[in-house]
Amino acid sequence: MSYNPYSLEGKTILITGASSGIGQTTAIECSKLGAKVIITARNEKRLNETFLQLHGEGHQQIIADLTVREDLDYLIENITQLDGLVNNAGINKILPVQFINENDFENILKINTIAPVFLMQRLFKKKKFNRNASIVITSSIGGVFSITPANAMYGMSKSAISSFMKFTALEMSIKGIRCNCVNPGMIETPLIDKAVLTTEDRERDIAKYPLKRYGKPTDVAFGIIYLLSDASSWVTGTSLVIDGGITI
């Protein structure tokens, strides 16, 4: 038997936003490390593409829009006890401050902040977490460790969820439940709006990263896995920055 303190063997982990990007990669990597995963997202076709790439048996996929109360109820009713949760669903829209608007801001807040807050609230209330469960929230360096132009709405949503992470870590510690964030820099995912950035913008931006590249979804997934695993048993309330050194 091989020694692996990061193993997820025997753990059941719910992953939101699992149909693409960081969520998809995290689901696949968790399954490779022995976890049973429950994946959820809005898009049935893409979620199923993730599902087909999972390793091992006993996984579950549930289509849900977590901003819709009925969908949230349905999800909660149809899952087993959890050892882990990865709050990963997120959206972005780049707008300078003087162009921000209620409609876009509400949308971003609903998906990036309010949905994960109430998913967690409901899971706590229904006592869906086993003792020693671990919750990971995909936050960002944006708004938390890094302020860049035109990123106010996204940054505010991420800074709010990072704050919620700390309150949760404190209150749930009595149940042995841990809560942490990962805070990625720019990751190569569908969320990067390739349309706004030109190739030159992109190259200029990459040059600012000490490690001279954008991140890959696995760079973040492995950080999430550390926080889900028993290797991080004494870690709660932290923000793990995964950013190629950009915030140094």
Binding site: P96, P149, A195, V196, D201
Partner: protein
């Protein structure tokens, strides 16, 4: 959509550059005040005022204000 109205809106994005310096022939990226934030503002302006999704490449490929105007006009 007329170009003078567009230039009025564009001028509002600038702080230091006087409206009189902005004409259809102006090479906007040569203006001292031009910046990546202003480029993002132009994209947001096109979205808000004309419901046009401008791309970074559209701005890169435009030289004069008129080029920019025509790009937006063709996408309406």
């Amino acid at each position: 959509m007329e170009i003078e109205k567009f230039i009025d809106l564009l001028a509002e994005q600038f702080e230091e550059t006087d409206r009189s310096l902005l004409t259809p022939e102006t090479k906007f990226k040569d203006l001292e005040e031009w910046s990546s934030l202003l480029a993002l503002s132009v994209i947001a302006l096109a979205d808000e005022e004309y419901d046009v999704a401008l791309k970074g490449d559209d701005i890169r490929n435009a030289t004069t204000i008129e080029d920019l105007f025509n790009t937006i006009k063709n996408k309406i």
